[in-house]
Amino acid sequence: MTPPRDPAWQGRVFWSVACLLLLWPLIVATEFRPAVLFDPDSLRVTGRFLAGFLPPKVDPAFLAEVARETWRTVAIATAGMALAMVLAVPLTLMSARVLSLSALSGRMARGPFWLRQGVRTLLIVLRSIPELVWALVFVRVVGLGPTAGVLAIALTYGGMLGKVYSEILDSGETGPTQALLRNGGGRLQGFFYGLLPQNSAELTSYTVYRWECAIRSSVVLGFVGAGGLGQQIDSAMKMFNGGEVATLLMVFVALVALADRVSAWLRAWLG
């Protein structure tokens, strides 16, 4: 019996070597030195920190504080989303193509066309600046606290919602809306009686999904001083308090899992 032979071995060897060569600059640029992790000093510090995780801190006063901060995290996300919708809905009405009267007969007039382009650019800019950067800027202006987090979520998510809302409206069935507009209905009437009934399920489900993302990002925003669970995790880590970090991380994972369930259930219920 002949020994097993791979007919494609040359190609495999060539590509493996080529990949390793390409990888080298990346390893240098990221200062990738796994040995640092197993350095005795670093191992001792890590070991002490991790040993502190057990047992997690569960005294009633601390748990009450954690519960309060968890609610603040949810509240920052919810308030941010509410403001994001206040920002996104008018921008959507301005930028959706279906609601253009001049586009009913051939090409859109020049004014409305440039207005739409302008609004779209604004949405892209709002959305491309990460919420963490907005939060850093607002912490400087309004000081530490939830205001910076709410504003950061409102601006970034406003941009995301505005863009996706107008895409949903433009890609749906446009017949009824155009019929309304052609027969003299106003643009708001076209939106409320033509577009909204058809697309409300999709719009709501996207909004709920984004609310779930906002909860996750409001925790991250806490790391730059915007309040909530993130700020607690950050300060507990800076104090090397393993027990507190363990409790906070467990609460956070549970919160994310809960938001995931609630959002999946809401979307199924609506859909």
């Binding site: 963490l132 993130g230 090397f240």
Partner: protein, 250 residues
């Protein structure tokens, strides 16, 4: 009816959120605050464009890209390693591995970075590991689903000829799901470039670290340049991925 109930609940939640947070609108909307905001924004111009500093920003951008690429690559390997037990029908391996994947995925990159700083030290290494750990959770789950949905025919044919488990995986299952695994990995890479740009805010390297450093010292001109570089990076990634998708679906 349903919608009414939902709106009522949501309305209550929103009102409760606004009232329970001590939001400082007064301070934000007052004339004084607007003036200080205007001064703050005015300090951003002109952005710092000295060649030495631009070189530093370019280096930060390259570091961000390298962190995201290496982090995603490590995550693809780790995700595949965890997806194998997670996609097996045996509940003993499946349950615990899925739990691990969920926990890795639930904790955001930035929190991982802050945790890993303790053992990896300040710098891009911690950021790369943080991206790798979080993305392992995401990719592991996606990979497990892809492996589960792979057509069983070719594997069964090899097994009938007496091939071992490793041979079946490398010559039947992996080639079938490879395109899907690659496309998931590229999609996560795109996300990770965006994440790597801000990860440094906690001290984990890349553009974010430069941003946090210069913002902390109130170097507003330099901050403006770094913010500009971030915007350009994100916009370039968006445009490239849009173009690639158009090409691929044409």
């Amino acid at each position: 009816m349903r919608l009414g109930l939902l709106l009522l609940c949501l309305g209550t939640l929103v009102v409760a959120s606004f009232t329970s947070l001590d939001l400082q609108w007064a301070q934000f909307a007052s004339l004084d605050a607007l003036r200080s905001m205007g001064r703050f924004l005015a300090e951003f111009v002109p952005p710092d464009t000295q060649p030495a500093f631009l070189r530093k920003v370019a280096q930060g951008t390259a570091e961000t890209l390298a962190m995201s690429a290496l982090g995603t690559l490590l995550a693809a390997l780790g995700g595949l390693a965890l997806a194998l037990p997670a996609s097996r029908p045996a509940p003993l391996a499946r349950g615990p591995v899925r739990l691990v994947l969920n926990v890795l995925r639930a904790i955001p990159e930035l929190v991982w970075a802050a945790l890993l700083l303790i053992s990896a030290g300040l710098g891009p290494f911690a950021g790369t590991l943080a991206l790798a750990v979080h993305t392992t959770g995401v990719l592991g789950r996606l990979f497990a689903e892809a492996l589960e949905n792979a057509p069983p025919g070719p594997g069964a044919a090899l097994r009938a000829q007496g091939a071992g488990a490793a041979q079946v995986f490398f010559y039947a299952t992996l080639p079938q799901v490879l395109p899907q695994l690659v496309s998931y990995t590229l999609y996560r890479w795109e996300n990770n470039i965006r994440a790597a740009a801000v990860l440094g805010v906690v001290g984990a390297g890349g553009l974010g670290q430069l941003l946090a450093f210069h913002m902390g010292l109130f170097h507003m001109g330099k901050t403006a340049t770094i913010l500009g570089a971030m915007l350009v990076l994100v916009a370039a990634v968006d445009a490239l991925s849009y173009g690639a998708r158009r090409l691929a679906t044409r």
